[in-house]
Every structure is written in C-alpha cells, then in structure tokens.
C-alpha cells in the first residue's frame, strides 16, 4: 500500500506541465546550462530509472534535492519546516478536542433536545468555516482593529530560541527563554485558534455520537441504580468508554488536520510545510513538492499505526 502511495506521488508530480529547469533558470539560460542542471537533478534519465532512484532514495531517507536555492536536500527543507507544522497541529488539536468534546458531550448529557440541536448546529457551522476566511476575520478584528495579535509569522526576527526540538514553545522553556516563549505563544494564538475552531466541529459531531451510544448502556444504568454520584458515573463509566472509539476517529481525522494546516499556514504566512508547498508551487520545485507529499502520506500512515497500538492498550478486548 505504501508502494502505491509513493507511486501515485511520483506519477502525479512527473506529469506536471512546464519545464522545471526553465522555470528555475529563466528563459535566458543557455542550452548547456539547462543540460547541466538536468543532469544534476537526474532528469535526463528515462522515467523508469528515475522511478527506481526515487524509491531507493525514500527508503534510505533521501528525497532528492530542491530545484531552487542552491539545490538544498529536500530532507533538510522538511526538517526546517516540520516543527512549525507540528506545533500548530498539536495546539490546534488540543483546542479542538476541548472545545468540540465539551460541546458534543453537553448536548448529549443535558438530555434537552434543544441542547442537542444546539450542539449539532455548532458542529455544522464550525465545520463550514473556510479556514483562511476565519483566519482573516480574526486578523481583521484582533490584529488590524485592536492590534492585539500579529498578523503573520511564527516569532519576531532574532527572537527564535536555540533549536533543540524545533518546537518554539518547548525550546524556549528548555532554555528558560521566557521572552521567546511569550512571543512564540503570542504568534501561535490566532493560527491555532483558527484551525482549532474548524476542527472542533468534527470533535463535536464525533463526541455526540460516541457519548450518546455510551449513556444508554446497561452498565451506566446499573451504576446509577447503585446510587453512585453523577460525577463518578461520568468519570468512570461514561467518559472512559466514550473516549475509546474517539481515539480511532482521531486517527482518521489526522489527514484532515494536515490538510487544514496547509490553509492555516498560508493564511498566516506560518513557516510550516503547508506554506512551503504553497511557495514551491510558484517555483515548480518538483522535488520539494514530491518530498512534502510523500512526507504527508507517510505521516498519516504512521499516525494511524500509532493510534492502532494505543487503541489496543486502552481497550484490553482488542488484540492484534
């Protein structure tokens, strides 16, 4: 299956119209210069040779070189940008899970039909936001009118903490650089809120389904008839069981989250992989685009495997 994913990426990227070499060097380049570059990038070889070189490269952690900016290896480009995407997705997921699960469970637990319809409407409306638009609206109000938050970027120039993990929040904590921590959180707030709100709609929907299935179970009724406090019932009998199916669903939503980062990053000029893909489309930088696509797909597959493992751990009935 992985092989098919990789093959799809290769095929899609190689049928791109336009000559990348021409796009990079410009129309003034001599034929010799173009030929030299083609050779450097391996584009002069037949397609099947390129294909096997590409596969061999990926399995040895080499995704070729960027076609612009001094032919930097694609792996480095991703290495530079990935932490920004990771930081944004983690914080956005936390916001989404808290917001969405609260709304979704409240709708079910309050047992009032109005509350349930309300939570469904919340799910529908927040999922219907076009991410860049929500981001831009927040920018207008909070950045342009009230000047509370920066409009773009990840941190002010020269403020970046020493790279340990690449996640600014963690790095600045580790180096006890509080100024950088404050500045990074300040930049992170709007993008993660934007993505978090949109993703929370899905969590609200999933939470609603999952909670409503659990509260009608016999063991909940039994717990209630034993006279347990509502709080205890919720914590030990409802929440635990409702979260198990949510875990796998979170795995399925991971691809959606990654797609969301592409739009969020573009709207906020957030220097992650999504913004990188947007920048490189303009330059027809095939190798980098291909590398990011492969990386995204590998990430989704990898995360789903991890979720499966956690799933078996959380629910002892499941054994592989």
């Amino acid at each position: 299956m992985l092989l098919i994913v990789l093959t799809i990426v290769f095929l899609v990227v190689r049928v791109l119209p336009g000559d990348p070499v021409l796009a990079v060097l410009g129309p003034k380049a001599t034929p010799e210069e173009r030929e030299r570059m083609r050779e450097q990038l391996g584009l002069d070889k037949p397609l099947h040779v390129q294909y096997f070189a590409y596969l061999a490269g990926i399995f040895s952690g080499d995704m070729g070189r960027s076609m612009i900016f001094g032919l930097r290896p694609v792996v480095y480009e991703i290495w530079d940008r990935f932490p920004a995407t990771l930081e944004l997705s983690i914080i956005a997921s936390i916001i989404a899970a808290i917001l969405g699960l609260t709304v979704g469970s409240l709708g079910v637990l309050s047992k009032k039909p109005q509350a349930d319809v309300g939570s469904r409407l919340y799910g529908i409306i927040s999922y219907s936001f076009f991410i860049p638009w929500l981001g831009i609206m927040l920018q207008i109000v909070l950045s342009v009118w009230f000047r509370l938050f920066p409009i773009s970027g990840r941190i002010d120039p020269m403020m970046a903490p020493t790279r340990i993990t690449g996640l600014y929040l963690i790095d600045s904590l580790l180096t006890t650089n509080l100024q950088a921590l404050a500045n990074a959180s300040w930049h992170l707030f709007l993008p993660s809120l934007t993505l978090g709100i949109v993703m929370s709609g899905i969590y609200a929907k999933l939470g609603r389904t999952s909670f409503s299935e659990v509260i009608v179970q016999d063991h909940v009724l039994a717990a209630r008839s034993r006279g347990l406090k509502e709080g205890t019932i919720f914590r030990d009998h409802i929440l635990r069981n409702a979260l198990v199916p949510l875990l796998t669903m979170m795995g399925l939503q991971f691809a959606l989250l990654l797609g969301g980062t592409v739009l969020t990053e573009t709207a906020f000029s957030w220097p992650g992989m999504g913004y990188l893909i947007y920048e490189r489309i303009l330059y027809r930088d095939y190798n980098t685009i291909q590398g990011i696509l492969v990386f995204f797909a590998l990430l989704v597959v990898f995360v789903n495997i991890i979720i499966d493992i956690i799933y078996a751990y959380v629910d002892p009935r499941i054994r592989f």
Binding site: R120, S128, P132, V144, I277, V301
Partner: protein, 276 residues
C-alpha cells in the same frame, strides 16, 4: 443513539434547502440582480460599500457585489461537475468491486485506500498542479479526491446485497451480472448515495475555494470567492475589510446550507446509519 427531537430533521432540511435554493437562484439570476459586469473596471479602485456598490470595489475597480453574485455560478458549476463525476465513477467502481470481488476488488480497494492517506486538500493540490489552472481542471482535481468516498460506501453495500435472496434468485434465473447490478443492487443504494452526495458537496465547496485561494483552481479575472479572498487579503493590513469579508461569508453560507441539508436528509433517509 438518542432519539432525534421531532421536527429537527425537517427543520435542518428546510433551512439548508432554503440557503441552497437562494444560492442557485443567485447563480441563475446574476445578470438580473446587478448591472455591472464582474470582470470590468466600473469605478474607482477600493471604494468602500455604498448604494451604487453595496460591497464596494476591489483594487482593479471591479464591483464586488457582482463578483459575489457571479461567484456563485462558478463555484456551483465546478462543484456540481466534480461531485457528479466522483459519484458516477465511485458508484460504478464500487459496484464492480463489491459485486464481482476477486482480483478486481483487491486492486481497486488498495488504490482507493492509498488515496485516503493524503489529506483531501493536499491530493487536490497535487492533481491540480498536474492539470494546470482552469474551471474544468479544478473540477477534475476535486472529482479525483472524492471518488474513494463513494467507492467505499457502495462497495460495502454491494457486498451485503450480493448475498440477498432476491439477488441469488435473479442470478439463478440467468440474469446477467450487468442487469443485476443496475436493476437489483443500484436502486437500494439510492438513499445512501443521495445523503453522501449532499454532505460531499460541502467538502467539495471548501476544496474548490481552497484551490482557488492557493492560486491553483480558478484564476482571476473569473469571479471566484476563493481567489477573491486571496487577492483581497493583500489589502488587509490597510483595513479594506469588504474585500475579504464578503467572498468568505458567501462560501460559508453555501457550505452551511449543504451541511444542514445533508444532515437533515441523513436523519430522514437513513435513520439507522450513524454518521462516520
């Protein structure tokens, strides 16, 4: 599942249907609702909303009101084309895969599952870079992304229905596979496919807007909400709010309309099938 409050499904369908109908009406009647051509400089640049230009003008002096109206045409056209295309392809492939099984099923399933490893938008970006910009290419890119959605669902249904007695009876009487699929299997799929179609339109609208926003789908001067949002965003720090507010609000109203319609229909048509 908790019981759905009586009437809320109908309410969802009515309100969603009203929004969708309004969008279709706007798209069809655009020339009667505005006297401005959306792709022509009609006034000074960057005028704020006024009586003549209810949504102001953009950096080229185009009337944003007429662009908002004609934008509905473009997005509905693309989305209708692409979702129909993925529905036809997905249903056909799903039927073949589920009904015949065997090697055809294995090959198709593995290809469809692989495309699921890509985020929607990322796959659409990849295909649309390959095809280039333009209305039809955007439609094709979006169509490719959503084929697996139909495929998976139809395949699952076809697998169960294939074993039903009436299908076995038809096969024993010597009906051809093609006839069985069209006459016996396909009609049972209609409610599910209709629901998925409406919900799928929501995603397709957002993907279309995303492609245009990233400069890949519909390119200016064709009026499109996604690309208007992109070009308006440049003027955001100077406070020209109307350039970005309107196109995005239009996208949102349309997606909410289809979501409500889809949610309501899924409650009414498939009460037993809970959402994924």
């Amino acid at each position: 599942m908790i019981p759905i409050p009586r009437g809320s499904a109908q309410y969802f369908v009515y309100s969603g249907g009203a929004l969708v109908a309004a969008a279709v009406a706007i798209a069809l009647l655009a020339p009667f609702l505005t006297r401005f051509d959306p792709t022509v400089t009609v006034d000074s640049v960057l005028l704020p909303p006024s009586l003549v230009h209810p949504f102001g003008t953009n950096n080229l002096g185009y009337d944003m009101y007429s662009r908002a109206l004609y934008g509905a045409r473009v997005v509905l056209y693309i989305v209708f084309l692409s979702t129909s295309l993925s529905m036809v392809a997905g249903v056909a492939l799903g039927l073949v895969s589920g009904y015949f099984g065997g090697y055809r099923d294995r090959i198709l399933t593995i290809i469809m599952d692989s495309t699921y490893s890509f985020p929607d938008i990322v796959l659409a970006i990849a295909v649309s870079i390959a095809l280039g910009p333009g209305i039809y290419n955007a439609a094709a890119a979006i169509a490719v992304v959503y084929i697996p959605t139909y495929f998976r669902m139809v395949r699952g249904q076809a697998l169960t229905i294939r074993e039903q007695n009436y299908v076995l009876a038809a096969r024993m009487m010597g009906a051809k596979a093609y006839d069985i699929m069209i006459r016996y299997v396909l009609p049972t799929l209609v409610p599910v496919v209709v629901t998925v179609f409406t919900l799928n339109v929501t995603d397709a609208i957002l993907t279309e807007a995303a492609l245009s926003y990233l400069g890949l789908g519909v390119v200016p001067p064709t009026p499109d909400w996604g690309s208007d949002l992109r070009s308006g965003q440049v003027y955001l720090p100077s406070g020209y709010w109307w350039l970005v507010t309107i196109p995005g609000a239009m996208i949102m109203l349309l997606t909410i309309g289809f979501s409500l319609l889809g949610e309501g229909l899924s409650d009414l048509l498939n009460p037993r099938i809970s959402r994924k």
